[in-house]
């Protein structure tokens, strides 16, 4: 009996050691950021394409207030409610004290300067495909935004999801640097893929997830239940979205569907963001969407 207990304890210890090893927030080298100089002007384009303000502006912020990234919006999910943090340049309550490599680590690897895992409510599983220069440009643009002294609020996430260390395993299982759509792409399709898969993180809402919250990339963009479980996010593969490329561009510019219904819900934020990009970028997204494997449902 005593031997049994010792054996079990031994096994438990090995398991724990394995967990600690596999879940450790490991950060790959950020040397590529050494000497990178950000261009705030391109950074603004990256900022809108990546939809930063849609989640990090205060709830109901309008106009110029959208650029005050005080956070505080609530995102209820099956795992708990996440609250967007203050990412304004405030040195105490925002991220004004961070360096570019630290910002890049958070954005592309989901690890804070303190070395803890960030929840994938921050879509680093998409942002990890950003080119370093765009991250540097975005960082430069964010320095130009107003600081806010609003303290970040804690997430309301319950056990076991409140153990951030478990995210290390989650990342190993579900985060990849690989593009979903591969093959010979035209420059326009390549740009569209970069906007859709990396910056605008379309897949985060439009792709279904498994029970652990990992994206089912085999069903890319084929529609899902919204994060709060209350509504359906539509299938935007060619199997369902039969709009022409021009109609997709029109929708991303004005918010009007071909039937002149108008965009609503969180997608209205996305259209506001997309409308700020050059026409060629919206056309690139439309061209990309036509490449996505058709799934009918």
């Amino acid at each position: 009996m005593a031997r049994m207990v010792t054996k079990l304890a031994g096994l438990g210890l090995i398991g724990f050691a394995g967990f600690m090893f596999l879940s450790a927030p490991s950060v790959s080298s950020m040397a590529v950021y050494d000497g990178l100089k950000g261009d705030a002007k391109n950074g603004e384009t990256v900022f809108w394409a990546a939809g930063c303000a849609s989640c990090h502006a205060a709830a109901d912020a309008k106009g110029a207030d959208e650029l005050v990234l005080a956070g505080g919006q609530e995102f209820p999910t099956q795992f708990g409610t996440f609250l967007s943090p203050n990412i304004s340049p405030d040195k105490t309550h925002g991220i004004g004290g961070w360096t570019l490599p630290q910002f890049a680590t958070a954005m592309t690897q989901g690890v804070t300067p303190e070395g803890t895992h960030l929840y994938p409510a921050l879509p680093y599983a998409a942002y990890n495909k950003m080119v370093p220069q765009d991250v540097a440009d975005l960082w430069a643009f964010m320095q130009t935004l107003p600081a806010s002294a609003t303290p970040s609020q804690a997430n309301k996430v319950s056990f076991p999801f409140n153990i951030r260390r478990t995210l290390g395993l989650w990342k190993r299982m579900f985060v990849t640097n690989d593009w979903v759509i591969t093959g010979d792409l035209t420059p326009e399709q390549t740009r569209g893929r970069y906007i859709a898969e990396a910056l605008a993180h379309c897949g985060e809402c439009h792709t279904p997830r498994n029970a652990l919250g990992g994206l089912d990339r085999a069903k890319w963009l084929s529609g899902a239940v919204s994060a709060d479980g209350k509504s359906k996010v539509p299938n935007i593969t060619p199997g369902k979205l039969t709009w022409s490329e021009a109609e997709i561009v029109e929708y991303l510019t004005t918010g009007f569907t071909p039937e002149y219904d108008s965009v609503g819900g969180h997608m209205a934020h996305v259209v506001e963001n997309m409308a700020k990009l050059p026409d060629s970028d919206r056309a690139a997204v439309a061209a990309y969407l036509k490449l996505v494997p058709s799934i009918a449902n």
Binding site: D60, S226, K230, S231, K232, A246, E250, T253, T254, G255, F256, E259, Y260, D261, S262, V263, G264, G265, H266, A268, H269, V271, E272, A275
Partner: protein, 154 residues
């Protein structure tokens, strides 16, 4: 006996009808709202066709369509949104409870729609290019409300 049965059946069916009617006191309200939106979409299609160049610019029909949109915008008020006519309570309603909880903001967005519709009227009388230039603003006014106050499809 037979008379009693008939009377009972009649009474029972009347009660049932009354209950159904009572369940749905906002049927007309919701239909009016959707009708206003559908007419607006129809007029937007007229303008949108000219903006995209799939239909030739025609000042008379553009002016009529933009005038309709402005007229509909001016009709929309809390009158079409009586308390209780929200999604989950009134059949077919997509109006979120925030319409009433944040009524001032809701009405600000309706004012925004009226302004955008006014600009579209000027554009419609001018050219297809001017219409094209005003579509995004009008679309923005529509989605400002639909973003916060319309329940996404479930």
């Amino acid at each position: 006996m037979k008379t009693k049965l008939v009377a009972f059946t009649l009474l029972a069916s009347l009660t049932a009808t009354a209950i159904i009617a009572q369940d749905d006191p906002f049927k007309d309200t919701v239909e009016i709202r959707h009708g206003l939106m559908l007419q607006m979409a129809t007029d937007l299609a007229t303008l949108g066709g000219m903006a995209k160049g799939t239909a030739p610019y025609d000042q008379a029909s553009a002016t009529k369509a933009a005038g309709n949109i402005a007229a509909i915008a001016s009709v929309i008020s809390m009158e079409q949104f009586p308390a209780g006519s929200e999604a989950g309570k009134a059949t077919d309603s997509f109006a979120l409870a925030d319409v009433w909880a944040k009524q001032d903001d809701f009405m600000t967005k309706i004012t925004g729609l009226n302004e955008a519709a006014g600009m579209m009227q000027t554009a419609a009388a001018t050219s297809a290019d001017a219409i094209k230039g005003s579509m995004a603003q009008l679309g923005g006014a529509c989605s400002a409300c639909h973003k916060a106050y319309r329940q996404p499809e479930s």
